[in-house]
Every structure is written in structure tokens, then in C-alpha cells.
């Protein structure tokens, strides 16, 4: 008796995406660390985590948009615009404290996200078209803002550059911020009314409307969240890489979507969780960092990421269809 309930427990745990990802990570890490023992050194792990900190912040924003049945292709451009804004403010007014610059990034990102949100929620323009358009509009605005120039490391204040690197209890501020964002949005999607409403709209918009969910408001909120998090990511990006260039974060939307799909977020909306997204990001980080270990040049990075997304997408879809079929069979008796 106890044995069957235990095997059921194992089955149920394995069926969860989070567990599968953990298992895959371990399976992946064993051969990599045999091949290159220093891969699992605290130093390298720290590097991977720091590399992924910005991505996880952006991926969580993307998660809410995909959850509501949409997609945000403008994340890279929002990062670039807010990152450039922070870099230029830092260049002209070095006395502005670094913490305030993060708030500036947040505000700029929120504004751009709001534009996306209003167009989708009240202009009724499909998210793909809206963000395909704003992707190039925001990128163009970045060029106009900087007049085509860069902000380089020696034009930035030491305080701002040091911000993501300062450590607290052994972890960098950058990592702490990412952990804070994960915790905050874990709470948001599980325990707040708006968080649950996003799941409802993504799962079944018609049903959600009948129980009184304001669809336009939810669609506005998801783009606002995505924009705000991208704004924060932009401010951190400029500080971490100690430069603000116009092309920064080009193609980042692909990585954000990849992290979500890996984390089990369903493109038909309404399914997935923050922990899954965080693990998906980590998985992507390990794979990307492992490329040199298996002697694959960085030029193949795009290809590998695309392939991973496609496989994860297919797995998500197949397991989803199986679930639906099982439900149908149960209903028929």
C-alpha cells in the first residue's frame, strides 16, 4: 500500500516540468563535469548564475505575456532604450546614485510597456503585430536618443558599474535582485487576484469574462509587468557590461521565449509557473556555457537555442494533447 502511494508520488513528481528539468540538468551536468572538472567550480557556477540573472528577470515578464495568450517581441528593444537612458543619465549626472538609476530604468520600461499594453488592450491590435512594430520603434528611438553614439566604461560612474558586482552574503547584488524578482512574482501569480486573473484569461478568455474578469485590464497589466521588468533589466545590463550600445539585447526576445518554453509555459496560454521559468533559464544558461566545453564555437549558439526551443515546444504540445485525450477518455467513462 505504502509502496504504491510512493510510486504514485514519484510518478506525479516526474510528470511536473520542474522535476523533469532538474533531472535533465543533473543528467546534463554529469558528462560536462567529467569532461571539464572546473565547470562545477563555485567560480564558474557563480558566473553562470550572474549571466542568467538578467535573463530570468526578462523571462518572467515574457512569461506573463505568453500566459495571457500573447507574445512580447519588443523586450530587447525596451532593454536597449532604458539601458541607454540610464547610461546617458549616468554620463551626464554622475552624482545620481545607482539605486535611483534602477528606478529610472523601471519607470522608462513601465512607460514603454504601457504603450504596448494600451495598443493591445484598448486598440485591440494582436500582440504579435503590436510588439513587432514597437520592437523597431523602440530600437529606433534608442538610436535617436543616443544619436548613434555609445556610452563606454570610462564615461560611467564607478558606483553604477559596481552596483551589480557588490556582494552580500556571498552573492552579488545582481543575483539578489533576480531572486527578489522571482520571489515577488511567485507570490504575485499564486496569491494575488490579478495574478490568478492572468491564468484565467490565458486558459479561457470567454469563461474568464463571464466570471467578471476585466480582459482589457489584464492584457494591460501583463505588458506593463513585462515592460517594467525589461526596464529594470536594461538598467542592470548597462551596469553589468559597463557600456550602453544601440544594438544591446538584440534578439533577446528569443532567449526569453526559450526560457519560458523550456519552463513548461504553454503557448496556448494559461499554464506554467515562475519556478519553471527560473529553472528553464538556468537550463539555457548551462547549455550555453557548456558549448565551448564540447568544442562548439559560439557561432552555433543561435542554432542550439532554436533547436532546444523547438524540442521543448514539441514536448509541451505532445504532453498537453495526451492530457486532453486522457481527460476526454475519463469523461466518456
Amino acid at each position: 500500500m505504502a509502496d504504491t502511494s510512493f510510486s504514485q508520488f514519484v510518478k506525479r513528481t516526474l510528470a511536473r516540468r520542474e522535476a523533469t528539468l532538474m533531472l535533465l540538468l543533473v543528467v546534463l551536468l554529469v558528462p560536462i563535469s567529467i569532461r571539464s572538472p572546473q565547470f562545477l567550480s563555485p567560480n564558474n557556477i557563480n558566473t553562470i548564475l550572474n549571466d542568467m540573472a538578467i535573463l530570468v528577470i526578462v523571462a518572467i515578464g515574457e512569461f506573463y505575456v505568453i500566459l495571457s495568450n500573447g507574445i512580447d517581441l519588443s523586450v530587447g528593444s525596451i532593454i536597449a532604450f532604458s539601458g541607454m537612458a540610464c547610461g546617458m543619465i549616468n554620463e551626464s549626472y554622475p552624482q545620481v546614485p545607482a539605486g535611483l538609476l534602477l528606478l529610472v530604468g523601471l519607470a522608462v520600461g513601465a512607460l514603454l510597456g504601457l504603450i504596448n499594453g494600451v495598443l493591445v488592450a484598448y486598440g485591440k491590435i494582436p500582440p504579435i503585430i503590436t510588439t513587432l512594430g514597437t520592437m523597431s520603434i523602440f530600437r529606433g528611438m534608442t538610436f535617436l536618443l543616443s544619436k548613434g553614439t555609445w556610452v563606454t566604461a570610462h564615461e560611467m560612474s564607478p558606483g553604477y558599474i559596481a552596483l551589480p558586482r557588490t556582494t552580500f552574503l556571498g552573492l552579488s547584488y545582481l543575483l539578489w535582485i533576480a531572486l527578489l524578482v522571482i520571489a515577488l512574482f511567485y507570490y504575485f501569480s499564486r496569491y494575488t487576484r490579478t495574478g490568478r486573473e492572468i491564468y484565467a484569461i490565458g486558459g479561457n478568455p470567454t469563461a474568464a469574462k463571464y466570471v467578471g474578469v476585466n480582459e482589457s485590464r489584464v492584457r494591460l497589466v501583463v505588458f506593463l509587468v513585462s515592460g517594467t521588468l525589461c526596464g529594470l533589466a536594461g538598467a542592470l545590463w548597462t551596469a553589468r557590461y559597463a557600456s550602453a550600445v544601440n544594438e544591446m539585447a538584440t534578439g533577446f526576445e528569443m532567449q526569453a521565449v526559450a526560457a519560458c518554453v523550456l519552463g513548461g509555459v504553454n503557448f496556448s496560454g494559461g499554464a506554467g509557473g515562475i519556478i519553471g521559468v527560473a529553472l528553464g533559464t538556468l537550463f539555457l544558461g548551462v547549455v550555453t556555457n557548456a558549448l565551448p566545453v564540447i568544442y562548439l564555437s559560439v557561432f552555433w549558439q543561435t542554432f542550439v537555442q532554436g533547436l532546444i526551443v523547438l524540442i521543448a515546444l514539441a514536448l509541451n504540445t505532445i504532453s498537453d494533447q495526451r492530457k486532453t485525450r486522457k481527460l476526454l477518455a475519463q469523461r466518456r467513462g
Binding site: 504579435i128 503585430i129 513587432l132 512594430g133 523597431s136 552555433w300 523547438l310 504540445t317
Partner: protein, 349 residues
Amino acid sequence: MSEKKQFVAQSRLIDELSLKNRIIELVTKWEVILSFLFVLVFVFFSNMTPYFLDWYNLMNASFQFSEKAIMALPMIFIIMCGDIDISIASIIALCAYVIGISAEAGANIPSLIVVSLIVGTIAGLINGLLITGLEMPAIAVTLATQSIYRGIATGMLGEHACTKYPEGFGFFGQEFISGTTIPFELVLYLGLMLIFAFVLHKTSYGRRLYAIGNSAEAARFSGINVKRTRVINYTLTGLFCGFTAVLLASRILSVRSNIATGWDLEIITLVVLGGVAITGGRGSVFGVFIGSLLVGYLKFGMGLLKFSGTVMTIVIGSLLITAVLLPRLLDIYKANRKLKMQHARPGGL
């Protein structure tokens, strides 16, 4: 007597009303609005600069948009069915890469073209099979294949640029029809445009696309093989990517892995601006034709006035959003008018 007079007066009123209605109906038609905008662009730029309204310049400018306009044609079919493909620029890059290395290996012109067409067709077929076979969302699949196709080109080429091509390869993308000042690419586009217009508006295949776009479910129940039609659309688009890669490689005679970056946006913009509903089921080849010319000459004019590429990107992005927003506002306006007319209609007539 007075009754007769009243009747005449009323029927005249109805005639006037219907004429006014017909004019409003015509003026609010998307293709007419586009044509009007097109004329506006010409009037504006020819007033701003003397170099705009010049036959040779106008013909030469078509080199800049012919390839994108050609790609917009098969994209009409995809969007008409309510699908999307954001991997086309990457397929073009993959085909261009294959052309580049084959040319360096010493292949002749016909085999370069054949190889490019084959690679493009296969890439498009893979897209179509992935999307319809597992019933995965088109946007997610083509976002992934976008990375995969371009990733192959990037991985194989690295920083390398292919610049060796056989003698005469430059004809497709650079030359004029012999004895005239009309570019070969432009003539090719016009010919293809007429073929696509015929297929979409005059054949049962075209009608099927409209049916699928309006309701895939209803189309399936009326005996249309929806999946096969969608796969054909994606494969056709892939074939055209191979075709466009030949024109593009021939025009610039240098293939790097970042070739055609950002074309997805521009080509989708052309189709949507041309009045094809992004949800499918509505639109015409003529609209996309006018839309392509409009964008092409808008960019040419802005270039003459020394606007930077950045400003043009912003304009294209804004055009895309306005192109979707405006018909929606027009629809609301039309619906309101209809309601008003129903209320205003005098009883018994």
C-alpha cells in the same frame, strides 16, 4: 397630384442618399485609401525635391523594394489563413549561404539557382509540417526555426563573407531589360503579382484560403483539406525565399550571415498595410501591391531628404501598427453609420 410630387421628392432623396452612401463606401475602401496615400507621397516628395519625379530614379529605386515586394506575395497566402511566418528572413539567409558556398566551390549559375530553391522549399516544408503535424502555434514554431535556419548560416559562415560568383550572376538583381531602363526585378515582380492575383481571386485554391481564414473549422467541414493547404502555403513561401535569395545575392554579390536581417517585419508590414487582415480571411493582392509601392517610394523619398535608416525603421513600425488600427476604427465608423441609417430610415420605404 401632391401625392405624386411627394413620391418623386422622396425617390430623389433616396437616390441622393444611395449615391452618397456609395461614395462613402468607396472612399472608405482600404485600397482606395492606400492609392490616395500613394498619390500623396508622390505629390509631397516631388514638391520637396527635384530628384524624386525622375523616371530613371524611380526605376532605380525599385531595386530597393522589389525583393521584399516579391516575398510579400506568398506571405499573403499564409496570413490569409490566419497563420504567420517570422522565419522568412532566416530562410533567405540560409539559401544565400548555400548560394555563397556553392559559388565558391565553383558551381554554375543554373545549379546555384536550383540549390537555393531546393533548400528554401525544404525549409518551408519543415515549417509547415511542424505547425500542422503537431498542431503547434505558428508564431512559436517559426520563432524557433528563425534561430535554427539563421543559426546554421551563422555557425557555418562565422565571420566569413562569400564574394566569389560566376560571371553574369549579377544579372538577376542588377540589370535592366535589354534596351530599356526597366529593371529585370521589377518586371519579374509585376508578372508574379499578376499570377498571385489570378490564383487568389480567380481560382478555387484562392477561395479556399479565404474560407480557411474566416473559419478553419467550417472550411474543414465543407471538405477543404485545411492542413494540406497550410503546408502548401508554407512550402510555397520557402520556395520564394530561395528565389529571393538568388535575387538578393545577385544584387549585392556578398553573402554574410546577417543578410536580410529585419526583413520579417518589413514583409509582414507590407502584407498587413495592404489590407490583409492579420486574423485571416480578408484582403487582396492589389492592396498589397499598392502598399508595397507606397512603402518603397516612401523610403526612397525619405532617403532623398536624408532621413536616416533609424527614422525609416520607426516609420515602418508605426505604419504597421496604424495599418491594423485604422481599418478597425473604419469598421466601427461603418457600423455606427449603418445603425444610424437604420434609425433614420422613414417608415414604409
